[in-house]
């Protein structure tokens, strides 16, 4: 079914959500997490989803990943309905979610080893990615020996080496301190600008969304809807300095206004995490 109604939806969309609803049953109580969400992510687009906590943005990402199914509507990947997790749709979680019993190298190569890719064919690539995310020399360390930022870099490296079609990132820097967070954002920018992977990035941080993404979809408080999609026409390559430009500030003001309306609403309803 071609979604002719939405002008953004094109044949080139890698990820597509068409009128997606999600209702949870929380101990007998119906909780509407998502309401009529439609969204398309084009190939090589860095798309951010921005919203207050509890707006269902993680739920949305989980459905694209295949961890969860929509109550109504369709989640499409390359034109086919998403049914289960797939290495073509790789996820970076908020928690690093590394296997604590594997070394950095074994964590990074888990996806490749699982699919039986011969070592010889990926060794150089793995080394390159480990170098890029600054983990050289830490290959034989266990996650317990790494800092939070380093763990998250392992989490990024392990999905990059799989060369997925889409990178799904669920507030990947949310649990890091401010300084590490900036470093990670720069790292992601430089890595992304090199590989131009399609990214769907969920965050509640306005600056982060505007700094990284080509488009920012602002979500409403629960039940989550997409309130507005803003194109971020900042030149690339970008660096942290872009956040001080007047154009960036105009965008920020616009988004801030949208978010503020929602935060007020969320406070009135009584927020819930999720």
């Amino acid at each position: 079914m071609a979604d002719a109604g939405s002008p953004r939806v094109s044949d080139r969309a890698v990820v597509e959500l068409a009128d997606v609803w999600k209702v949870f049953d929380k101990s007998g109580r119906r909780v509407e997490a998502l309401q009529a969400v439609s969204l398309a992510v084009a190939r090589n687009e860095f798309a951010a989803i921005l919203g207050p906590s509890g707006c269902g943005k993680s739920t949305l990402l989980n459905m694209v990943a295949g961890f969860d199914a929509p109550t109504r509507g369709r989640v499409l990947f390359d034109g086919d309905p998403v049914r289960a997790p797939d290495p073509r749709r790789a996820v970076v979680f908020q928690e690093p979610a590394l296997f604590p019993w594997y070394t950095v190298l074994d964590n990074v190569t888990f996806g490749l080893r699982t699919r039986g890719v011969p070592v010889a064919s990926y060794r150089a690539r793995v080394e390159a990615f480990i170098e890029q995310v600054g983990l050289r020399g830490f290959e034989s360390h266990y996650p317990a020996e790494l800092s939070g930022g380093m763990k998250q870099r392992v989490g990024i490296a392990r999905v990059l080496v799989m060369e997925p079609d889409v990178l799904l990132m669920d507030e990947p820097f949310g649990s890091l301190d401010a300084q590490t967070r900036s470093l990670m954002q720069e790292l992601l920018l430089s890595v992304w600008e090199r590989h131009q992977q399609t990214v769907l990035f969920v965050t509640h941080d306005i600056e982060e969304a505007l700094l990284l993404a080509d488009s920012v979809s602002v979500m409403t408080a629960r039940p989550g809807r997409i309130k507005k999609r803003i194109a971020v026409k900042l030149p690339r390559p970008r660096s942290l300095e872009v956040t001080t430009s007047p154009f960036f500030n105009d965008l920020k003001r616009e988004v801030l206004g949208l978010i503020r309306e929602e935060s007020v609403k969320a406070a009135a309803y009584g927020p819930e995490t999720g």
Binding site: V91, A97, L98, F99, W101, F110, T114
Partner: protein, 261 residues
Amino acid sequence: MRRLWPALLPLAFLGLWTLAVEQRWVTEGIIPSPLQVARSWQRWIFGSPVKSLSPYSGTWLAAVLYSSRRVLQGFLLAAAVGIPLGLFVGWNRLVARLVDPSIQLLRPVPITAWLPFAIAVFGIYDASALFLIGLGAFYPIVVNTTHGVRDTNLLLLRAARMMGAGEATILTKVVFRSALPSIFTGLRLGIGIAWTAVIVAEMIAVKSGLGYVLWDAYYVGRMDICVATMLSVGLLGFVSDRALQLLSRVVLKWRTLEAHA
């Protein structure tokens, strides 16, 4: 002084014991003194089985080997059945609903209560002992494995799935690894029960090993040998537990790092 501190309580106990025997606080001739136990134990270990008048002389190692072999065999049997079963029970709801009620119903039956049944089915042979030891060690292993599997972090399962792992890979590379600390807890509890079970089994169901010696010595009034047997079993139990602990420290190296972080 600091080195002696842990030895203080055992030494005080030995002193009190010696005193109790010498001062005749206990019935004379029934409770041997520590020194008598030590002497009998030494003869039991190093004595010549031919020249000596004592029937126990020089038979200690043989008894220890009999019991240790049974414990090891029963324990390995329990682990070989308990770990895979625990994995499936913990992982699959259907398997759990099929198997779990039976396990929970049979578990409260004490291992000693199985003795007549074991002898009736397997006779006065090794099989009886192995059945009792294996059954005793099986419960903690299967229960702890199940528990460990159910504790697996959902996020790690999702991570494995999005990297393309199928059920078999997830079970062996994620669930099993994640349950290993719990499995080791089960193994350590299991080997403890195995030593209990081997003594009970050898007292009644077979005619060799430390349990047999214990019961035999009791019948002929050799309390010194009884006490030496008790200490031997305690020592072997301690050593086997230590060996498992050492193994777990090697296998779960990542976990000791976590504890220090």
